[in-house]
Amino acid sequence: MAEIGGALINSKAQQFSAEVISNKRVGAYNHMVFAVNELAHHCRPGNFVAVLVGGASSSMVLRRAFAIYRASLRSDGVGLLELVVAANGNGSKWLAAQLPGSFVDLIAPLGTAFGIPTEPVNALLVGGGYGSAPLFALAEILKGRGCRVDMVLGASVAGKIYAPLEGKRSVNSLTITTEDASAGISGRVSDVLPDLIREHKVDVIYSCGPMAMLEAITKISQSHEILHQCSVEESMACGIGVCMTCVLPVEGDDGITRMTRSCIEGPVMDGNKVLWGHSREIPEGVWGR
């Protein structure tokens, strides 16, 4: 079902100077809305945006990647692109500080999208921190295809759970975990997954969040022998496939494991095919090691 990989990726990508329409603080994040053109029409849940940060004479030479939270095309042809931004370092701080009326240079849509099953399945969507961003639009689509959609969101503290009201509407259930027990169940998402998988007879997990979380989920998806599509987060210098910084070891259809670009053959990948936990080393058996 997943359409991961393939020659047509990024064929709809456009570079665009987008006006900031709104910028609101929501918990630990900024929810930002940009006015774009019809490129919004081509954005799929899982795709990301590469944003130029810092303005003219910036010392930051690389774009920043953000998952698309929502994208819609109004009847007047104006597209709306929405992001959920955590102001961490200088680049994301700059972005989060842009006021309505300012313009931001972005490239979208980039990368792979979550694969949508052709028949109704039971889907479990798992998000960590701002990793929930792409999951709400995905939930809507899955709902529209008649799927059962359950969601688990986890974070260290309650303020880092991003779960707007309208998003909750499209899921059958929402479970929240926090490590400090400030909201929902105390613990990590992986603590609650096995029960939910059994309870809801989950066929496929969709996940987005920190790499350690994706690794933990993969262990569970593999032991339960269910599908796992995850959106990975590797440092990206270019976001368009030319720099080779964003790689991780992934087993291909031919059984060979290659250092694979997460910007173009990801960010959405088959979690069960990723060799997790190999930062700072090339695992044995990787092609060309």
Binding site: S11, L52, V61, A237, C243, G288
Partner: protein, 311 residues
């Protein structure tokens, strides 16, 4: 008045002097979505080695003030798959092609050159000698006049007479003019200046080097003054040698700076990461700037800052 934007490097002709930089545009496929590759002076492909390479472990990059570090480690499919897949595709695009090769021993440069000698559609070969020489305690070829010359001589012997060889030098040396002289003597038809500078970033959270390889190559606007200096120094001593300049070019103004210093062509690397269209914008801006400054031919601007002894 029409402006003659073409340039030539040791007999190889290019419609304009703006190239991609090796390792910063793959083999062109990903950029072809943003603009036709035929509009570039040339596509310089990522340095290719004999065998498939996984490259280095991640993290492979760190952003730095007005620059970045990378330690990709020459990930690639190896020369055979490259010649089978990438070259025919590039030819179909109507792109001018400069193939960059990299070896870990003198013999590897020889083998790579032999594989290239009869491949149609290649305009020149860029020899990346900023690689560790496994036969010499991993010292980088380009950091020693003798090993630099040995790699270039191996390429020269094996490539045949037709294909120009461009030796790509490292700025991490005490005397880049001496290295230039050495590779010219060894048969280089042109020079590419400059490769990245060796740098390091330490993550102040983990309190360890950020990159898995600890050090990486510094590129981007931060190093432009070093590139301009290197090109100027070499051009001052070798008035005729073709030079492909690179290092921190992000605008037509920047490219013009390298051209005035002595570059016959300009490769754009890191700027493409910030903007996939950078190379096209730079091409357009440089053309306009040359015209505004009164040049009717691009070649007249090359090394113009040396007139009257540069004062």
């Amino acid at each position: 008045m029409s402006f003659n934007y073409s340039t030539s490097l040791a007999g190889a002709f290019f419609a304009n002097p703006i190239f991609t930089a090796s390792g910063c545009a793959g083999s062109g496929k990903e950029l072809a979505h943003f603009f036709p590759l035929s509009s570039l002076g040339a596509v310089v492909t990522k340095s290719i080695m004999i065998k498939p390479r996984s490259g280095r472990a991640t993290p492979r990059m760190a952003e730095t003030p007005s620059g970045m570090l990378n330690s990709i480690g020459l990930q690639g499919p190896g020369i055979d798959i490259f010649l089978e897949n990438d070259i025919p595709w590039l030819r179909d695009q109507g792109a001018r092609i400069i193939v960059s090769i990299a070896g870990e021993s003198v013999e590897e440069y020889a083998v790579l050159s032999r594989k290239l000698r009869n491949v149609p559609g290649i305009s020149a070969v860029e020899v990346n000698i900023s690689c560790p020489n496994v036969e010499n305690r991993g010292q980088v070829f380009a950091c020693n006049p003798d090993t630099a010359a040995a790699a270039i001589a191996a390429a020269r012997r094996n490539i045949g007479g037709e294909l120009p060889i461009i030796a790509k030098l490292s700025p991490d040396v005490t005397d880049i003019v001496a290295i230039a002289g050495s590779v010219i003597d060894a048969g280089a038809d042109g020079l590419a200046l400059i490769n990245t500078l060796l740098g390091m970033v330490i993550d102040t959270n983990s309190m360890l080097p950020r990159l898995s390889q600890k050090t990486g190559g510094l590129s981007g606007p931060a190093i432009r003054p070093i590139a301009v200096r290197a090109i100027y120094q070499v051009r001052a001593v070798y008035p005729k040698i073709p030079i492909v300049g690179m290092g921190g070019v992000t605008s037509g103004r920047d490219a013009f700076e390298l051209v005035l210093a002595g570059a016959n062509a300009v490769s754009v690397g890191t700027a493409t990461f910030g903007d996939p269209m950078a190379v096209i914008q730079i091409k357009n801006e440089l053309e306009e700037l040359c015209s505004i400054r009164g040049f009717t031919s691009f070649s007249d601007a090359v090394g113009f800052a040396h007139r009257n002894g540069g004062q």
